[in-house]
């Protein structure tokens, strides 16, 4: 199974001590510029630069990061393929008839748009990776509290957070035990095995929930939950650099809005 939750990596990131607000501003800023960009150029610049920040400053293994880039690939390629075939404009580059009734056509416009979407996905995903791999959610909770998100929302999120890790460990154990007794070896019975695991996990979860209630009561639970611990230090220069970086990206976005692979504008 071997899942690696990004959270564990974020806890040991080289950027752990930068104030979460700075990291969020950088990450979200890049995402927004990426999505708003009209040329593939800016998202590509964002993807490359923010990946460098993640890998170099955040001290993430290069090989691990490269593997991450495959996560969005499946969805991205399929969806972009659809766009390339249905959003035709401009010169026809390729046309073929399949099954006799379906004509697939690729045009310069559709390639341009496909390129743009693909670059946006990678720009956005790399920025998202940056947030995931450098900012532990535990710190985002504190931030959310400061932003006056409703208490019950934050409390619920914190509890879910805690239980994700507990249940994950259990799920992994159960799965391993099943594999050791030759479960999942054949297609037949796999669904049954999976259901059994999920069911057993559900029972475990339910029992945990009941125990949790007792534990909270034991510690005088009175409807209060959230309290902030220590935060990363707020570092002025980091914020300044972030804003400078975002501003230059914004500039590039505006300057490059007409640059396309096949020239021409997207309408």
């Amino acid at each position: 199974m071997n899942y690696e939750l990004f959270e564990n990596i974020a806890q040991t990131s080289g950027l752990r001590d930068v104030h979460p607000a700075v990291k969020l501003i950088l990450g979200l800023g890049c995402i927004l510029i990426s999505v708003s960009s009209n040329s593939f150029l800016t998202p590509v610049i964002i993807a490359v630069s923010i990946s460098l920040i993640t890998i170099v400053l955040g001290k993430i293994h290069l090989m691990f990061y490269l593997r991450l880039l495959f996560i969005p690939l499946g969805f991205a390629l399929l969806s972009v393929l659809v766009i390339v075939f249905i959003r035709n404009s401009g010169d026809v580059l390729f046309s073929a008839s399949v099954f006799g009734w379906l004509t697939l056509t690729i045009t310069t416009g559709s390639v341009n748009e496909g390129m743009l979407i693909l670059s946006r996905i990678f720009g956005g995903m790399c920025s998202l990776f940056f947030i995931s791999l450098s900012t532990p959610v535990t710190e985002i909770f504190s931030l959310a509290k400061k932003c006056r998100l409703p208490d019950c929302f934050i409390e619920l999120a914190m509890l879910i957070y805690r239980y994700i890790f507990i249940l994950f460990e259990q799920a992994e154990m159960i799965y391993q035990a099943q594999v050791m007794r030759l479960g999942y070896m054949k297609r037949k019975g796999s669904v049954e095995s999976f259901g059994c695991m999920a069911g057993s996990l559900f029972i475990h979860s339910w029992e945990s929930g009941e125990k949790l209630l007792g534990a909270m009561d034991c510690r005088c639970y009175n409807g209060k939950y959230a309290l902030l611990g220590e935060q990363g230090v707020f570092f002025g220069p980091a914020l300044f650099l972030t804003i400078l970086f975002l501003a230059s990206l914004f500039r590039i976005m505006i300057l490059s809005c007409n640059i396309q692979l096949f020239g021409g504008l997207i309408t």
Binding site: T138, M158, R162, E169, S208, C218, R219, N222, L227
Partner: protein
Amino acid sequence: MNCILELTDLEYHYPNGPKALESVSLRLMQGEKIALVGPNGAGKSTLLLMLNGMLRPDSGTVRFRGEPISYSRKALMNLRKQVGFVFQNPDHQIIAPTVFQDVAFGPVNLDYTEEETKTSVDEALMYVGLTEFGRRPPHNLSGGEKKKVAMAGVLAMNPDVLVFDEPTSALDPDSARSIMELLDELHHAGKSIIISTHDVELAYTWADRIVLMDQGKIILCSKPTDAFSDKELLAEAKLSKPVLVELYDALCELGMAKSEKIPRSVLDIVGILGMEHHCCRGCKAPGFIVLEDADFLNEDLAERIVHDEAIQIIGGMGSVAKKQAKDYGIPLTYTHGVIDKCLLKAISGQNCLIITSGGMIKRVLSRVEEFNAESGNTIEIVTFDNYLHNN
């Protein structure tokens, strides 16, 4: 001594279940260490859950400082502040996403101010030795560390009574030892402690009083040496004798030991055998034990300790002493079971230094005195000041 918690004729059965407790009566005195011992399903946990009102008995009363518990929300909250409960599985107890937040859970719900909360959390974390762990999420701590976080979460509310359900279960020996030492320290700080365990050896050496339970009933409540020498009762509770008691019985049966005092440690056995064979006493000149208060330790003293050649063994007791020793670079030979080990070394002719603080100093004095009286040895204790003067 005051009675802190008193259970009278408790009866309890879980909904749709068989009886879990049957006419259970027990008194926990101020400053006492009690161990509930019995097989799984004997009702140990059920009994513990009665102590802070988590379960309400079908009949019988639970008294806290003489007053019967009222099960109103407010009274319960007050009770639970004073009777801290540490669960067997820390994963069931640790709620919040970071260590700091989790330890702060109790104080926050008790409406401490932010300042007070911070102080009590910091203190509790220092006590368990996890000061730098505040920002870490609990899921990547080790089992022993999680247990300590769970303890800190309870200590932050500063309860008088501490209830531990299986404090050492699933821990490796090193973590288990450090948890038990923490319990000892808490005990010296004046807390009353009640634990449940099925580790016979642990209960035997740790507790003031042993409560044997089986099938929801208390079948015996007495001093450890009495509790673990009753073969029939042990068999009933499906427990075995501690190794040392078993050895002692075998020796008695063979006529190789006659002492009336049942041994509680390796030291005791050695003492008994020594008395019997007149070999341990006198054949070597015994060493002495130097006692140093960790609170008065400074760089100069530490220097002298490290370079003093007459002292072969250095033991550290309690978190303060260990921290000090580490800070001043004093290498500790023993960090657990210190008194007995030093006594053993002393009777074989080596000189020891024990660094400790607070109430544990008295403990050292009384234990050595007791040992001397029982075994006929004459191990001397000197304070470090006197030791320096004499040399």
